[in-house]
């Protein structure tokens, strides 16, 4: 058995015949906490403290004409009673349920594709990864040009005889158009993680399966898929979180429309805080978004819980 360790301890060769030294008695919890300390401080200062402030502010109203006053849960009640917020919540949930499985599946399939021995796999793979480097403002402009009624997308469809589509100007197509845009940006990024996971699977497994007569598809489902569960789980959770925070394309392209069909929660929060100037209700909405995120991620953790 070869050791991959570059440090000079030669540990792997030992089988425990050396004299045992007494173990230190410090509690694993304390040591773990020592390692966790910087992160915990960062957490406290950079997340918990401002979140506490946000929670606090969400229970006040500080209007221009009415001054500061404590209103308890009134902002939350107003939110849930408001049809705009209900719409935003619905749109966000629909969006979450649709986009995450699709993006993870597409990333996975692309990862499988690009780990096969194709001509120029590395090049094509790099092209798919490129979009993550594009600043949100720029990708929004690019796609505004693609989705214009006289834009690139309709020009391409025209080549196939398909009539021009409204894309971002239609309440039915706008959300899906945004999803395509986000997928263009993100799919390559997640694909990278999955390729790493797939490359972890020893080739010998595939060879053995081929000898047994298993087809490529079969191998995919019986070997690849189960063995990349951890990276897949990571991608699903990370993708879900990042999709719940989407707002730049909405802000630049659709402003939540047409007719509220792309009014994602984060965008609603942003406009409520910065444009409408209603900071307190926006903070209440933030609290709700965080709870929704925690809930969804919690459910995912539970479903994907491996042996650890």
């Amino acid at each position: 058995m070869t050791s991959r360790l570059s440090s000079g301890t030669g540990v792997a060769a030992r089988t425990g015949t050396a004299a045992r030294r007494p173990r230190r008695r410090s509690s694993p919890l304390l040591i773990a906490l020592a390692f966790l300390a910087p992160a915990l401080i960062a957490l406290l200062v950079l997340r918990i403290a401002p979140a506490a402030v946000a929670l606090w502010q969400s229970m006040f109203q500080s209007g221009l004409l009415s001054g500061d006053r404590f209103v308890g849960l009134s902002n939350y009640i107003d939110l849930f009673a408001s049809p705009d917020f209900q719409g935003a919540l619905g749109v966000t949930l629909l969006f979450t349920v649709l986009i995450n499985p699709i993006q993870v599946a597409v990333s996975f399939l692309l990862a499988v594709l690009y780990t096969k021995r194709l001509a120029g796999a590395k090049i094509w793979r790099s092209l798919v990864i490129l979009p993550i480097a594009v600043p949100p403002a720029v990708s929004a402009v690019m796609w505004s040009v693609i989705y214009r009624p006289d834009g690139l997308a309709n020009a391409f469809l025209d080549l196939f005889g398909i009539p021009p589509q409204p894309f971002l100007t239609s309440p039915q197509q706008a959300l899906v158009s945004i999803m395509v845009l986000l997928s263009w940006i993100g799919v390559g990024y997640w694909m990278m993680f999955l390729i790493a996971g797939i490359n972890d699977v020893p080739r010998s497994y595939y060879e053995a399966a081929s000898l047994d007569g298993a087809s490529s598809w079969r191998q995919l489902w019986s070997i690849t898929f189960p063995l990349v569960r951890r990276p897949l789980a990571f991608v699903l959770v990370a993708d879900t979180v990042s999709n719940l925070l989407v707002f730049a394309p909405v802000q630049i392209l659709t402003k939540g429309g047409p007719e509220g069909s792309t009014n994602l929660l984060m965008y609603d929060i942003f406009t409520r805080a910065y444009t409408l100037g209603d900071l307190n209700t926006a903070q209440a909405e933030v609290v709700i978004l965080v709870l929704v995120t925690v809930l969804i991620v919690g459910v995912q953790f539970r479903l994907l819980k491996a042996e650890d």
Binding site: V11, A39, S216
Partner: protein, 289 residues
């Protein structure tokens, strides 16, 4: 019977050849499809801004190619703040990666290498706390930073990017895969916990460290709302803000905007392409099983 790791036998049925050809074409087509918007942008950065929308529909060869490229747009950027913005962004992002990896890796280690009661709960708490959307708590955080006089400082710009829940999650996922007997043996050898971290976990997790580093880098590189709130005087301006500044009030010169975008994309591009090789190759535990 040993298993050879030979390339697939060439003499196989033609169907396999066809299948391989088919998937190659598919792979190429997908790659090209992803490239199209970027290509269009790059081509238009080589045209005067007035011509940006001239060749949209119907599709002509000019849509994707120009026989008279000009670098005027790039030259026009020479006098702008873009250069300084890029340097600032690079500095901030790199510092974030270094310190951020330190914080995230140690945290992931604390959550992966030790067995204690409530480990799962602590993990959940840490991750879930970092899930608090940054853009949403940016306002109270900006107020706090202002109280501490951190506005218009690099420190204030770097700080929020240091703790990244997803990076911790990623690193912990990989750390959990480090075999226990390796650690046992090292401990028996007298290696302290820090030594185990530094000499076993880290070297074995290079791909995940690169992945986490990439996440931290991209987060900072794309940061837009935070730098604005922290007050960006010209000495501290960052890339995305400089890009937005190119959008005038009354008109936008798209040629210049695209040129700036191309420049702004190049750096993360080079980093991603450069590192993806290391990231994707598995340096992990196949030999140790």
């Amino acid at each position: 019977m040993t298993v050879n790791m030979t390339p697939r036998a060439r003499g196989r049925a033609p169907r396999r050849r066809l299948g391989l050809f088919g998937t190659s074409v598919l792979g190429a087509a997908i790659g090209i499809a992803f490239l199209i918007p970027l290509w269009w942008t790059a081509i238009n950065s080589l045209r005067p801004g007035a011509e940006t929308f001239r060749y949209l529909n119907p599709l002509e060869w000019q849509t994707f190619l120009t026989l008279t490229p000009t670098f005027d747009n790039y030259v026009a950027l020479a006098g702008s703040d873009l250069g300084r913005a890029i340097l600032n962004s690079l500095f901030i992002s790199l510092v974030t990666v270094i310190f951020g990896l330190a914080i995230c890796a140690t945290a992931a280690y604390g959550l992966a290498a030790f067995q204690f009661r409530g480990r799962g709960v602590l993990f959940s708490v840490v991750i879930l706390s970092f899930l608090i959307p940054f853009d949403a708590i940016a306002i109270p955080l900006a107020d706090m930073f202002r109280d501490w006089n951190l506005q218009n400082t690099f420190f204030g710009l770097i700080l929020p990017g240091l703790g990244n829940g997803m990076a911790i999650f990623l690193l912990r996922t990989f750390f959990l895969a480090v075999p226990e007997d390796l650690v046992e043996a090292a401990r028996l050898d007298g290696l302290g916990w820090w030594g185990v971290f530094w000499r076993i976990y880290l070297p074995l997790s290079v791909p995940s460290l690169i992945g986490a580093g990439l996440m931290l880098f991209l987060f900072q590189w794309q940061a837009y709302v935070w730098p604005l709130l922290m007050g960006t005087d010209r000495a501290h301006i960052v890339g995305p803000v400089a890009l937005s500044n190119l959008q005038g009030q009354f008109a936008v010169d798209y040629g210049v905007l695209f040129a700036a975008s191309v420049i702004l994309i190049l750096i993360p591009l080079v980093i991603i392409l450069g590192f993806q090789r290391y990231f994707i190759q598995s340096v992990s535990t196949t030999g140790l099983k």
